[in-house]
Amino acid sequence: MGKYWINAKIMRESLVLVVLAVIVAAAFQLFRPNSELLSFDRPQITFAADSLLTAPLPAISIDDSSAFGQAVAIGEPIVITIEQMQYLLETDAAIALDARSPQEFAAGHLPGARNLPLEELYEHEETIQKWSKNKWLATYCDGPPCDQGEVLAWELTGRGFDRVAIFAPGTMGWQAAGLPLQKGERVHE
C-alpha cells in the first residue's frame, strides 16, 4: 500500500481546502465593507494632453486623470503616449530613463536612454541632482503591467523634478509601434 503517492482521501482533503478558499474569497470580495471589486479587464491608461509637453511648466491642474485615478497637477508625473515620447526625444526635450535591470536594458532600450534601475537610485543621487530641471525626465519599463517606470517617476518627483513623465507603453509598446530599440550595455555611470 505504501507505494502509492496519492490516495482518494488526501485528494478529497485537498479539494475541500480549494473549494473552501474559492467560496470564502468570493464571499469576502462581495461582502466586505468598502471593498472595490477587482476588474477582470486590465486597467486602461489615460494619457496627458499634448499641450502639457510644450507649456513652459506643467499647468497647475489639468482636467484629466492619470493612469492611477489621481488628478494630474504640479509635482505629479504625467503619463505620455508613444507619439509624445517620440516628440520629446526628437526635440531633445527629455532624458529617457530606463528603470529596468541592466540585463534588460542591454537587451533593448529606447534610443539614447539612460539606465537607472530602481535598486541603484540611491547610488546615483549626485548625478540625478545634476540633471537639468528644464528637460523632461521620461521613465519607462517594459510596458503594462510593469510598475518600475511609475515608481521611478514618483521618486524623481519627490526629488524636486517638476517635469516627470511616465512613458507607459514602455519598450513593448515602442517595439509594437514599429520603432527601433537600441541594444548594448550602458556606457554612462
Binding site: 500500500m1 505504501g2 502509492y4 503517492w5 496519492i6 490516495n7 482521501k9 488526501i10 485528494m11 478529497r12 482533503e13 485537498s14 479539494l15 475541500v16 481546502l17 480549494v18 473552501l20 478558499a21 474559492v22 470564502v24 474569497a25 468570493a26 469576502f28 470580495q29 472595490e36 477587482l38 476588474s39 477582470f40 479587464d41 486590465r42 529596468r100 535591470s101 540585463q103 534588460e104 537587451a107 534601475p117 530602481l118 535598486e119 503591467p145 510593469c146 510598475d147 518600475q148
Partner: protein
C-alpha cells in the same frame, strides 16, 4: 527516535503553516497589489491573474490553518508541494527572462523574484514532501485491509 521524528513533523507543519498565513494575509488585504505582482510574471491571461489574486491568498491561509491545526493537513501538505512547484517554476522563468520583479511571495513592493527565493521555496517544498510522505505512510497503515 520516533518521538524525535514526530517533533520534527510537528515543527515543520507549524513553520509551513505560519509561512503560509504570514504570506496570505497581506495579499487578502491588498488583492489589487497582489494582482499586479502576479501579472508582472507575464505568464497568465489577466482574467486568470485576477482569479488567482483573489483565491490564492485564502488558499494559503487555509493550507496554513490545516497544517497547524492538524485537520485536513495531508491535503494541505499535498497542495503545499504543488504550490511550491508552481512558485519555483514561475520565479525561475522570470529570472530566465531577465525580469526584475516583485515575486509576490510576501508583502508586495520588493523586487525579489530571485535565486534566494527559489532556494527558500525548495527548502520549504522539501519539508512539505517529508511530512507528506510520513502522513501518507500513517494513512496507509490505518487503512482497513481489503476483504479479499
Amino acid at each position: 527516535m520516533s518521538d524525535r521524528k514526530k517533533l520534527l513533523e510537528w515543527a515543520i507543519r507549524w513553520i509551513l503553516g505560519l509561512v503560509f498565513i504570514i504570506a496570505g494575509v497581506p495579499k487578502i488585504i491588498d488583492p489589487a497589489g497582489f494582482a499586479v505582482a502576479v501579472d508582472n510574471y507575464r505568464l497568465l491571461p489577466y482574467f486568470i491573474v485576477v482569479v488567482m489574486a483573489l483565491v490564492l491568498p485564502w488558499l494559503e491561509v487555509f493550507i496554513g490553518l490545516a497544517l497547524i491545526s492538524g485537520r485536513l493537513w495531508r491535503g494541505g501538505a499535498l497542495l503545499t508541494i504543488g504550490l511550491y512547484g508552481v512558485f519555483i517554476i514561475a520565479i525561475g522563468s522570470a529570472m530566465m527572462r531577465g525580469l526584475d520583479i516583485d515575486c509576490g511571495c510576501f508583502s508586495t513592493g520588493e523586487h525579489d523574484a530571485n535565486f534566494r527565493r527559489i532556494i527558500e521555496d525548495v527548502i520549504l517544498m522539501a519539508g512539505a514532501l517529508w511530512i507528506y510522505r510520513r502522513g501518507l505512510q500513517k494513512n496507509n497503515e490505518n487503512r482497513p485491509v481489503p476483504a479479499d
